[in-house]
């Protein structure tokens, strides 16, 4: 018997009530049931980081948890970064520094970098590079992603 459950997810401050199988991963439910297709499903076994979302202020792989487990937690996805028409400093920096090419990995990198910079906008280069190694990008060679995150960090620091 396939078990379905009522699940209430809070994504970018909005409540989504869905009725899903327990086996559905968080990334699939965010995309297919909540309609937020900014979060990408890549390898679906925790390696690539495309599906990275922020769960209660920490970055997680949304393919490695079930949607039923996310009930009662605050979820943030790439759709929640911009404020109205004003892009988040990281989004602008990725554009300015060519931190993306095909763009598939970008939402995952943005959410990873957002959580990292919110925790510590003064993060050192060595630690930053180590953290950005969590996600895979097959286009940029990472250098422009690192430049973009550094630039955004500077802007976020100057804003306080």
């Amino acid at each position: 018997m396939i078990e379905k459950r009522d699940v209430t997810l809070t994504i970018n401050g909005t409540t989504h009530r869905v009725h899903v199988e327990s086996r559905r991963t968080l990334v699939d439910v965010i995309r297919d049931d909540c309609g937020l297709t900014g979060t990408h499903a890549g390898c679906e076994h925790g390696v690539c980081g495309s599906c990275t979302v922020i769960l209660d202020d920490t970055p997680v792989r949304a393919c490695l948890m079930f949607a039923v487990q996310a009930e009662g937690h605050r979820i943030r996805t790439v759709e929640g970064l911009a404020e109205g028409d004003v892009l988040h400093p990281l989004q602008r920096a990725f554009m300015a520094h060519h931190g993306l090419q095909c763009g598939f990995c970008t939402p995952g990198f943005l959410m990873l970098a957002t959580s990292v910079l919110e925790r510590d906008p003064h993060i050192g280069d060595e630690e930053l590079i180590d953290l950005l190694a969590s996600n895979l990008c097959r286009c940029t060679g990472y250098q422009n992603i690192i430049k973009a995150v550094r630039a955004a960090a500077q802007e976020m620091r100057s804003r306080g």
């Binding site: 086996r23 390696v47 792989r61 948890m65």
Partner: protein, 328 residues
């Protein structure tokens, strides 16, 4: 292909068991599949299961007693189990999610040991969680475990229960002599790390037992440690790793502990290397001799990318480097 039942030792071959691993690049999985004839994965979606959310340890072990015979399994961080389910290598009929049990989040040191509850995540160890050398040791090792977004979910105790040969925490547990609490509806038994790891991804834990907590002995002030791991990509599984822990008293090495992981089916201390170090002044040639003894003592596992003799040489290198890192 066969899939290991939880807690049930079997003769599952190395390649089969290795497919449980998260973090392995897709391409190598597919090479394994092609070589081992497992066919191509037709789906990346877990098979159906029934989901249970106990609110207490009593409730969890009652559920385990009832559901373990029907292929019920514990879900903690899920960073190894969920990928195994995505590949349909694991198809548990029931998942018992322990993430909501507050008492399993305990992380506290008493006079002699650090207690780590089943829901303590890897990321908790980024900053020292105990005074003295143990907290620093754990903080230095944790950075080698996968990547940060995995460390925010994966748990220390989950790593022990999963018992991957290349698990850093399993090596720490074996080297420092952890004590593992296995709780079932019948009560709790405590298992020494040396008796806990019994094979590749196989432990002394029974199907209906929950690994409720692990206890690591605190290290006396002045204890020195060095950890060294070798892999081809940051965050990937270690080909071999070593943890060296000792004190220097009156100029000579006291209480040496040399643990090697990733090289055999289970991490373990190597008495052959420890004997060479004990009572001797720490110095380069002694470290090389101990590293050579460690390499000679192991029975290396082999996979298509890593021949056994290559792994043995890596053991010699990482053991020497771990000893040098620990040196005054």
């Amino acid at each position: 292909m066969s899939v290991r039942e939880p807690g049930q030792p079997d003769d599952t071959d190395v390649a089969d068991a290795r497919l449980y691993r998260v973090g392995k690049p897709c391409i190598t999985w597919h090479i394994d599949w092609a070589r081992e004839g497992f066919g191509t994965p037709s789906s990346m979606k877990p098979a159906p299961f029934r989901y249970h959310v106990p609110k207490s340890v009593d409730e969890a072990v009652a559920l385990l007693a009832q559901l373990a015979p029907d292929d019920g399994r514990v879900l903690a961080g899920g960073q190894s189990l969920v990928p195994a389910m995505a590949f349909r290598l694991a198809r548990p009929a029931h998942l018992i999610d322990i993430n909501g049990i507050a008492t399993l989040e305990r992380l506290a040191a008493d006079g002699s040991a650090l207690t780590i509850g089943a829901c303590v995540r890897h990321a908790a160890f980024h900053r020292p969680v105990a005074d003295g050398p143990l907290g620093r040791l754990l903080a230095s090792v944790v950075r080698h475990i996968a990547h940060y977004p995995i460390r925010t979910r994966g748990t220390f105790c989950g790593s022990l229960a999963h018992a991957d040969p290349a698990s850093e925490w399993c090596l720490v547990a074996a080297t420092l002599g952890a004590e593992i609490a296995a709780t079932s509806a019948r009560g709790t038994r405590r298992i020494a790390a040396k008796d806990f790891f019994t094979g590749i991804m196989t432990t002394a834990l029974a199907d209906e037992e929950l690994l409720a907590e692990a206890r690591l002995p605190l290290l006396p002030a002045g204890t020195r440690f060095g950890f060294q791991e070798f892999n081809r990509r940051a965050g990937d599984f270690a080909i071999a790793m070593a943890l060296a822990v000792y004190r220097v008293e009156d100029g000579v090495i006291a209480d040496p502990r040399i643990g090697v992981g990733g090289a055999e089916s289970c991490p373990r201390r190597l008495a052959e290397a420890e004997r060479i170090l004990k009572g001797q002044a720490p110095r380069g040639d002694l470290f090389r001799a101990a590293a050579g003894a460690a390499a000679a003592a192991i029975d290396p596992i082999e996979d298509p990318a890593t021949p056994a003799e290559y792994r043995r040489e890596v053991v010699a290198a990482v053991t020497r480097q771990a000893l040098e890192r620990a040196a005054p």
